[in-house]
Structure formats: structure tokens, C-alpha cells
Symmetry: C2
Subunit: 322 residues, 2 copies
């Protein structure tokens, strides 16, 4: 297992470097890759960047003005890639990677060397420490890249993965000129028309059971077609159902095929999502679990809602106050 | 104008202290007051707390376990109160206040002495520096109180008022045991049933004009009555209208009386909200402005939408990318 000093030493020694981001790229893998490209270019090196999927337009600023090369790579570095399978069509490059820089505790080694910090909130938090170790100044453009990953991977510093070190890194990046408020506006305060169409249906169609302690949303294929929602739009919906005040068990029921429904269940302690889903052959964690139920939508809903009701009766009143 | 050292010296010298929060209390005024109560009690002093309005239930943890006294106050301290009028029915106490601790650059002096830092993101940011100056340890309970104000006044570190000092203060509070993720869940990821009812209407009723660059939401009295939305629920709606991708001018039209409509306009640069509202006798800033239009709802909407159309034609295409 490599550490920051090893990673810095390797990168200083190398040239003609290909940097890889994971497929369905997010703010952290792209911000980290772009910051590293910029730092290596500042050291006079030639760099390439590759990702199996296109960089979403909203992240365009990360690579703006970066003079990427087009050459046969001498070295390959993967950033924020927990498993080579996450490289998608670029998986063959993963097998030849010289270095992986990653913050997933679940990292499955694939590169010759790996620098992994499982408690770092984002790969960008590691990169913010690596770049000074390379002897490169954190420019405002690099600060923008690193702040993007730090902010997006923590839900804007909202989740439990944001540690004191995360906050200190953010302070440093602001001092180096990161356009924090502008980046957060684009990442957190901008909703596509498709997302708006989906939200309208989510808030209209949500149904409540068991005295408002169980909320259900049915994501039928018709709803998805009508709203034009993408998988990434749908990602956040399970969390939304659980966000309603008083809800202890939040369900989404997703149509997967004829008479086949995939259930996602989120639970507030002491309710246990995994225990409920196990009754239907599913599994997961206490806070989030899933299962598949066959039958009509009405049947599937009735069965899972009944199981939730039994669980709620068993645990009694839940105090969700701080 | 007092500074932190003066504030600390006064508080150390006083006893039987009444601490005041502003009316319609938020996380910052309450977190700051509760943290100060806890610190003064740790110094062996007797404290009281008063606010013109009840402490919302979700903030109940701030004062939990605090042994407040009931006595004739010898000294009065107002926290996060920019103007004595904001004390509501407690304004007479404001006139007798000995010390005001506030972070509003617009602070209108009312206390005998005022410690004001207009660039602090929150009164809690100032309090996080004051408490060590009092010689009091920041306990996990005090850290919870201070983190609450820091997080809620910055939209969870999202807005431009979050400075490097804000992030460093957050790092310190996490190290002292603040339950950051849990607090953020309650403050940012919990929606009341009323808020859900309002969101449903917001996303259903929002209308788009001028190629999707202007969005309009009409908040009729009927909508407000039907959803049961409170003023605090309605507060965020203007921002939501502007959040839609491609929207440069976001309007809310609020029914104020018979044939009287209050317009709130949010604009993305280079559009200028104040210039548009000025045409109707209103005013404000470039980014947010307001005016009142008399007539039917259809008339009011047609007039303001036409003015927005003229402004959009004048500025041409707007690039909202970073």
C-alpha cells in the first residue's frame, strides 16, 4: 500500500501520464482528475485524460483551458476508482494502471500501487494534500476543481463523512480562490426541467400509511416515461420519501417488468429496513435495504406496507428528535 | 463599539443575566443564546432566556438540560439581534440591554455596548471564539448549539457568507463533539407535511415564459390556505423558482389583498431584478428585488412577465455556466 509521499515521488518521476476517472463521472472523480492534470502540467509534464462516459456539461469548467496531450501513455493513474470494473469500457487501461488514488474503504486493488485513505471524505481531499507535496501551488483553478469534489461527495458538507480535515481543506481552498458559492449554486441549487417534472409527481403521488409513519412512492414505467427522468434523477427519490417529517419507513416501489416490482426501503432507527426486506428474500442494511416482489402493483404495495405496519407495531413510538 | 475582549470581560463580571433572541427565532439566534447560557452556567452564573416567539420544537435540543433561572435581571444581552424592533414584544428589554452580540453589517445600535462583526457568517461563529475567551470549555452540547447556527445561517456552508474562518470553526466544533450529520438531517433533510403540500403545488403550478428563461409562481391566498403553508414555508419559494435550469428571471406573485399583488423577482447576472421592479415603483438589489402591482392576478402577471421579456430581449443570451 502506497502513501502520499510514494504517490508524489512516482508522479514527479513520470511523464506522458494518462489519468482515468470512473464511468458515470461525478464531481469528485472529475475534480480530482482535473486538479491532477493541472498540477502535472504545471510541472511541465504531458497528460491525457480518459473516462468511459462523457463529462457532463455542468462540470465543463474543471478542464477549461487545460492543454491535454494525445500520446501513447507511459504511465496510468486512476483517481476515485474503487474497482477496475467502474472504469467501464476503459477497464483494460485499469489492468495496466501504475497508481490508484482512492478514498473508498472498499477499494479492490487493481493498479501496481494504490494510495487509499478510507476515511477521506473525497479523493479531492487527498489530492489537496498531494499537490503541495508535488511542489505545485494551488491556483484558483485547481482550488475550484478540488472544492467541487469535496462539496459534491459530502452533500455540501452535510453528511457524516465530512470530518474536521474536510472542513480545514475547504477553508484552505477558499483561501486559494475557490468559487465556492458559485460551484454550490450549480451543483445543489439548479434543477433540470426533468427533475422538476419528477419532483411534481413525487410530491403529488406520495402516499402515507400507518399514521404517517410509512410513506410510499410508486415509480411506474409510465411515470418515468412521462417525466423523462433519468437514472440519476431517480437516485435521490428514495431519500426524499424518507425525508418527510414523522416518516420512519420510506418506500419506493419501482416497476421492473411485468408483475415485477423492486422495493427500496429506508428506515429511521430503531426500525430495521433489512429485517423487513428479508421477509421477501431481499437484504441490505438497517438504514437502507431492498427486495423484489412479484404480482400486481396493488399486491406488491399491500404486502410490503403490511410488513412495514407489523414492524412499526413491534417497535412502538419512535422519537426522531435530536 | 466593543470587541470580543470587552464582551468577555463584561460577561465575566456580571451575574443574573437575561439573554434575548430575536422574534421568529432561527438556528443562529437560538444556538448562540443556548451556547451562551451553557457557558455562563459553567461559570456559576444565573441566566434567563427570553424570546418573543416560542422555540420551534426541532430546536428543543439546544436548551435541553439547561437550568434557566427566574429572577429580576441585573444585565441584559441580545444575540443575533440586528435591530431592537426584531425583539418583537420584548423590545422594551432591548432598550435596557447592556450588550448586543451580532453579525449583521446592518446592525442598528440599541444596547449600551455592541460587539458586531459584519463579516462573520453567524452569531455562532463569534460565540465560538467568545466562549474560550470566557475560559469555558466547549462541551459537546455547546458544540451542537454553535454548529447549529453556523450550519443554518450558511445553508449548510453553501452560500458566499461561509468564509475560511467559518469552515475552521466547523472543524473545531466537530472535534469538540458536535453531532453535525444528525443536526443537518433535521435542519436540511426533513420536510413537514405542510412543506410537502406546498412543494407539490410549487412544482405543479410553476409556469414558464420566454423560452423557459422566465419562471412564474402565483401564491394565491387560496393556495396558501389549501396547503396550510406558514410564512417560513413560503420563505424558500422565491429561491426555488430561480433554481430551475435555464431560468434567468424567477418570479413569485403573492396575493396581498383584493387586486394587490406583491412581486418577488430573483435574477441571474447580467439580468437586473432591481431595474425591472423599478418600473413598477419597487426596488431591491441586482439579484433580488420586489414591487407591488394593483389589478387582477392575470393583469399583474401579464405586466411583470412582459417587463421581464423586454429585459431578456435587451440582454440577449445568458451563459450561466461556471
Amino acid at each position: 500500500m502506497a502513501d502520499r509521499e510514494t504517490a508524489a515521488a512516482r508522479l514527479k518521476a513520470w511523464d506522458n501520464i494518462l489519468i482515468l476517472s470512473h464511468r458515470s463521472p461525478d464531481g469528485d472523480t472529475l475534480g480530482c482528475a482535473a486538479a491532477l492534470c493541472r498540477a502535472l502540467i504545471a510541472l511541465g509534464k504531458s497528460v491525457r485524460f480518459a473516462c468511459a462516459d462523457a463529462v457532463p456539461e455542468k462540470f465543463g469548467y474543471l478542464f477549461r483551458g487545460v492543454a491535454l496531450g494525445d500520446f501513447e501513455p507511459a504511465h496510468i493513474v486512476a483517481v476515485d476508482v474503487a474497482d477496475k470494473a467502474l472504469l467501464g469500457t476503459l477497464e483494460p487501461f485499469g489492468e495496466q494502471a501504475d497508481l490508484a488514488i482512492d478514498h473508498h474503504a472498499t477499494h479492490r486493488p487493481f493498479a501496481k500501487e494504490a494510495w487509499v485513505e478510507g476515511t477521506a471524505a473525497a479523493a479531492c481531499q487527498m489530492m489537496a494534500a498531494l499537490i503541495p507535496a508535488l511542489g505545485v501551488e494551488i491556483t484558483p483553478e485547481i482550488a475550484d476543481c478540488l472544492y467541487t469534489g469535496l462539496s459534491t461527495d459530502t452533500g455540501c458538507f452535510r453528511y457524516a463523512n465530512a470530518t474536521p480535515e474536510t472542513f480545514r481543506t475547504a477553508a484552505m481552498l477558499l483561501e486559494h480562490g475557490a468559487r465556492a458559492a458559485e460551484i454550490n449554486r450549480v451543483m445543489f441549487d439548479t434543477k433540470s426541467r426533468t427533475a422538476i417534472a419528477l419532483l411534481k409527481r413525487v410530491y403529488s403521488d406520495m402516499a402515507f400509511f400507518h399514521g404517517g409513519r410509512c410513506a410510499v412512492l410508486c415509480l411506474t414505467q409510465q411515470l418515468i416515461d412521462e417525466t423523462g427522468a433519468t437514472e440519476s434523477d431517480l437516485d435521490g427519490v428514495s431519500a426524499m420519501v424518507r425525508q418527510v417529517e414523522g416518516v420512519v419507513l420510506g418506500l419506493t416501489i419501482r416497476e421492473r417488468g411485468e408483475n415485477e416490482y423492486k422495493i427500496s426501503l429506508r428506515a429511521v432507527e430503531p426500525a430495521n429496513a433489512a429485517e423487513i426486506c428479508k421477509q421477501f428474500g431481499g437484504g441490505g442494511h438497517k438504514g437502507a435495504a431492498g427486495c423484489t416482489i412479484h404480482g400486481t402493483l396493488a399486491d406488491a404495495q399491500a404486502q410490503i406496507v403490511a410488513a412495514c405496519g407489523a414492524a412499526l407495531e413491534h417497535i412502538g413510538e419512535v422519537d426522531t428528535r435530536l
